[in-house]
Symmetry: C2
Subunit: 226 residues, 2 copies
């Protein structure tokens, strides 16, 4: 029997801290579980609007909890995540439209770079408390990920094209069709069923659904089926 | 070196399905981890009001997700949880005031029975879709848990006393002081720190915080330190 084809779609926005956590766990496990991980840059503000949901941090007690939660998860998940100082301004006001269009442009033109560029944007906003809205910020992330300046500029020029705008809108709509009311969501396509899992805390359940072994959020290296 | 004294407080309401899941996982692990598990019956409606939060199922897309999520978790966690048919009426309208006062009365008079009676109430509302608001329903749960009819009636008579009412109010206020915006919350008191963890999906993180081993939601029996 040949290997089963199993696809995981991760819908995410770099504005969402729990998206980063899910992203890192899935990037660690994709070879171990031998799954086809498809990264889907989406717009969280569009999903909130479409579902009628509110960002959790709008409720003061949830915002306070998130800070403690993320501090504990940083250590446990070994992801260098830190709350930005001006959370309301950075996350609720500035948003991520250009950044997510840029990632969409990367996905269309250089999909092999999408994981690295996404990570560099998260490292800016959710680790070093740096801007991700200015062109210079996005170019800096792309270059850190290994792109040439010319390549990054070319992708940035494309963010206002209908192709890129429509693609981001379509991906966001696809997340909504899967039932998203926030991000991240992981959509697991198995032989005969599809499961949508919300958040970064359903990864052990995902392993169960896949029939794979969960070895914690930081699986030992060397377990990949090469 | 003697065993460290580590206390976990579980604040819960039988109206909350994720409270049941957290409760069963902690009941399985309390001897394995050698922790003092203190059950704290609380009123979720009071916590929602005090924090300004809304029950997740008020948002249609969250309600739809919860149904799928609980179906998957039922199998994975091996807890026979099922959504009540008339969810809005059972959970959002009828509520749990008398049931939680009854559990408070059990905790005050027969704390050794609290785990079993709580479980029987969950089995009624969240497994067999049976009422938990009528006196007969509550008495039936108490008797299934092993109480005599006379004992159960005595406790039920006490639910309208100031002692019981005040105790439930105080426990609910204590949850709010720990930052609750819903239930369950688990408050871990360690040597020099206290952590509040929200929901049923932070149990692997709890193991990490305690320095204990996580063996999945259904740990093998026989691991208890006897």
């Amino acid at each position: 029997m040949g290997p089963r084809s199993r696809t995981l779609e991760l819908f995410y926005d770099v504005l969402s801290p729990y998206s980063w956590l899910a992203f890192e766990i899935l990037c660690r496990y994709k070879n171990i579980w031998n799954v086809d991980l498809q990264l889907r840059p989406s717009l969280i503000s569009g999903i909130m609007k479409d579902s009628g949901n509110q960002p959790p941090a709008m409720l003061p007690r949830k915002a306070a909890y998130m800070k403690d939660d993320i501090k504990l998860l940083r250590q446990f998940l070994q992801v260098p995540i830190h709350f930005p100082k001006e959370f309301a301004s950075v996350v609720l006001e500035k948003g991520s439209l250009t950044a997510m269009r840029f990632l969409t442009s990367v996905k269309l033109e250089h999909p092999e770079m999408l994981e690295k560029v996404s990570r560099e944007l998260w490292l800016r906003i959710w680790s070093r408390d740096e801007d991700i809205t200015e062109p210079q910020s996005i170019l800096a992330a792309a270059e850190k990920a290994g792109m040439s300046t010319a390549q990054a500029r070319g992708l940035l020029e494309r963010v206002s094209t209908p192709q890129v705008k429509n693609q981001l809108r379509e991906t966001t709509e696809a997340a909504c069709k899967h039932g998203a009311f926030g991000l991240p969501i992981t959509v697991a396509h198995l032989d005969d069923t599809t499961h949508m899992l919300f958040g970064s805390d359903r990864m052990e359940l995902l392993a169960h659904v896949l029939g794979e072994k969960w070895m914690g959020p930081v699986p030992p290296v060397g377990n990949a089926r090469l």
